[in-house]
Amino acid sequence: MTAMPSEQIGRFQTDKTEWDNIANTQEFKDLMVTKRDFIVPAFLFFLVYYFLLPILVGYAPKFMATKVIGVVNIAYLFALSQFFMAWTIAWLYVRAANDFDKLAKDIIEKAETRAANNKGGR
């Protein structure tokens, strides 16, 4: 094996391994889909929202300098809103991640039970 002993915390790979088995279970596929359905849109949303700031400031400076409340302009409010955008997405992610944790817990428990049974059967 090219792999190093200190890296081998878990099990060894064979052709049809336990890791492959877990990866192919419906539970694991559900977990991946659930994660993807939150993370991909959230990531794309924040990229677009964030890069709108330098793009608008750079290419539409007159619009961004429009005063909204007293002397405070769109540019300042939009920059300030970025902080609340980041916090909101972080909060939504933590809520969604509690569901990921539940799904992952099932997978871990099943895998550990199977491993214990295999040992006992030998």
């Binding site: 792999a3 200190s6 964030y50 920059a79 980041a86 992610y93």
Partner: protein, 534 residues
């Protein structure tokens, strides 16, 4: 003894006490490199914030806003938003699948030796560049803050360097963590106090405060000018200003999640859920801090004024001078001590991540193929390399001198993290086909592209007038070939292209076979490293 010096000494005494306490709890690799993985979520979150908010954030951004108004505030936004990448993409998989360094995650499915060697080179590059920038800034700053005590630049660099070495060599990750926590609390406390004093100056009227920001008076080339500091365009000017800011944004968004000294922090917590909550804690602190730079920077612009700051130490002194103007010399000393704590916490974090990567990736896994020949060897090597890294940083900072142009080194560190580290981390976690050739190609191309583009950028290439002499002169006296100061917009795509092309042009079935293992481990935490006494 001057008041700032007394406050510096108090901070040093407290942190040395912590280092002594931590030194008795740092035996063994997991204890030394990862504080036994027993740091709690809020503690790690505060430490991440303390690791991340450098003097460049505290003094630098306050200064940029004081001098260039809105553009400086806009500049600060990306530093927080970047943590969404850390939260959504990197922190949890890394904690689930790794042990001490980012290369642990890569080494699962790829051939460990080439990947670790290259990842270690990239880590040491990022950490060293970032550290030199911090050390030069620290030396100049400490000398300035303590000029009444007669501390020179050279003495300041050596003092900061020795302290950082002592924290890391004796106290390991545990001492580093607590230095960062104390620094972050001091920094937040000082910033909140300063913000309240600024608002108090305007009788707690936001209207009056913003009206003052819209009419900032100062002298430019002998002429008095009045400018609206809320209007964009004072820093980022056409034709390349917007593009440079977008390029910086890319380097922050993709680079923060590839900074080795931030990534190692996620190994100090018991599990991925705690890693997640620590990112959220960090985001609350970092975001609040950058929002308050509004008060620090604009407060300095309106209450102290550009003219006074220019003649009293320059942009970096904006926040301390604001403190002096609002509450006198004691508060000046307090803010100066915070700046000092800030520098120390960041350089200690950089030192430990560099020495961890050298000891764990290069020494144990590349040279000795993953076998620790005798117990404690890995930690011993890390201690020696922390000492060497510190000594090298001190020497380079002294040779460069206080006037050296080093700001570009921070841009370079983020660019390398974004262009070399992040692409291979992400592709390794998410792309089944990814392989060793791709990882080595991605790391190499990302690293070389970042360095190459910085070399031909306006940071290092410009024609100086004869009046500019010594270290302040640009390295290459010619018109810059690459027009942007931040290479991210080009170097990040190049890093990804290198990684993808390298993968497609080679074939490595073992990497694909082991993908499921990494996928399950990184997404569920099955088989992850646990917290422990050892």
């Amino acid at each position: 003894m001057s008041t700032p010096l007394v406050m510096f000494l108090i901070f040093i005494a407290i942190t040395l006490g912590i280092t002594y306490w931590a030194s008795k709890r740092s035996a063994g690799s997991a204890a030394y490199f990862a504080a036994s993985r027993r740091v709690t979520g809020w503690q790690n979150g505060i430490a991440v914030a303390g690791d991340y908010m450098s003097a460049a954030s505290f003094l630098g951004i306050a200064g940029i806003i004081a001098f260039q108004g809105y553009d400086g505030f806009m500049f600060s936004v990306g530093w927080l938003v970047a943590y969404l990448t850390v939260l959504l993409v990197v922190a949890e998989p890394l904690r689930n699948a790794g042990r001490y360094t980012m290369a642990d995650v890569l080494a699962y499915r790829l051939k460990p030796r080439p990947v670790r060697a290259m990842a270690s080179v990239s880590t040491l590059t990022v950490s060293t560049f970032y550290m030199i920038a911090q050390m030069v800034g620290a030396g100049a700053l400490v000398a300035l803050l303590l000029k009444d005590s007669g501390i020179s630049y050279r003495a300041a660099v050596i003092g900061v360097g020795i302290l950082m070495i002592v924290y890391v060599v004796f106290g390991g990750m545990l001492a580093t963590t607590w230095v960062q926590i104390i620094k972050a609390i001091l920094l937040m406390g000082g910033t909140i106090l300063l913000s309240i004093l600024v608002l108090g100056h305007f009788h707690f009227s936001f209207g009056a405060f913003f009206d003052a920001i819209a009419h900032v008076t100062y002298h430019e080339k002998g002429q008095e000018v009045v400018k609206d500091f809320l209007t964009p365009g004072l820093r980022y000017k056409p034709p390349y200003g917007a593009l440079d800011l977008i390029s910086l944004g890319l380097a922050l968004i993709f680079g923060t999640a590839g900074l080795p000294h931030i990534l190692v922090r996620f190994y100090t917590v018991p599990d991925a859920k705690t890693a997640r909550s620590s990112v959220v804690w960090a985001m609350v602190l970092i975001g609040s801090f950058y929002i308050m730079t509004t008060f620090l920077g604009f407060g300095a612009a309106t209450i102290v004024g550009r003219d006074y700051i220019t003649t009293h130490g320059g942009t970096n002194m904006s926040a301390p001078l604001l403190a002096q103007a609002l509450a006198g010399n004691i508060f000046f000393a307090f803010i100066s001590a915070i700046a000092f704590a800030t520098i120390l916490a960041v350089v200690a974090g950089l030192t430990i991540s560099a020495s961890t990567s050298f000891a764990h990736d290069f020494w144990t896994n590349v040279i000795h193929r993953g076998v620790e020949r005798k117990p404690g060897e890995e930690v011993m090597v890390a201690r020696i390399s922390a000492f060497v890294v510190g000594a090298v940083a001190i020497t380079i900072a002294i040779v460069l001198g206080p006037t050296a142009n080093v700001a570009f080194l921070v841009a370079l560190a983020f660019a390398v993290a974004a262009s070399a580290n992040l692409p291979v981390i992400v592709l390794s976690i998410f792309w089944r086909r990814f392989n060793t050739t791709g990882a080595v190609a991605g790391l190499t191309v990302g690293l070389l592209a970042s360095i190459g583009l910085i070399l031909i950028s306006p940071s290092l290439m410009a024609v100086d007038p004869p009046t500019v002499t010594g270290a302040a002169r640009h390295l290459i006296q010619a018109k810059a070939i690459f027009p942007l100061e931040n290479p991210g917009i080009l170097s990040i795509p190049l890093g990804f292209v290198g990684a993808i092309l390298g993968t497609l042009l080679s074939h490595e079935p073992t990497s694909e076979h082991k993908f499921n293992e990494l996928l399950v481990r990184s997404n569920t935490g099955l088989g992850a490293e646990r917290a422990g006494a050892h």
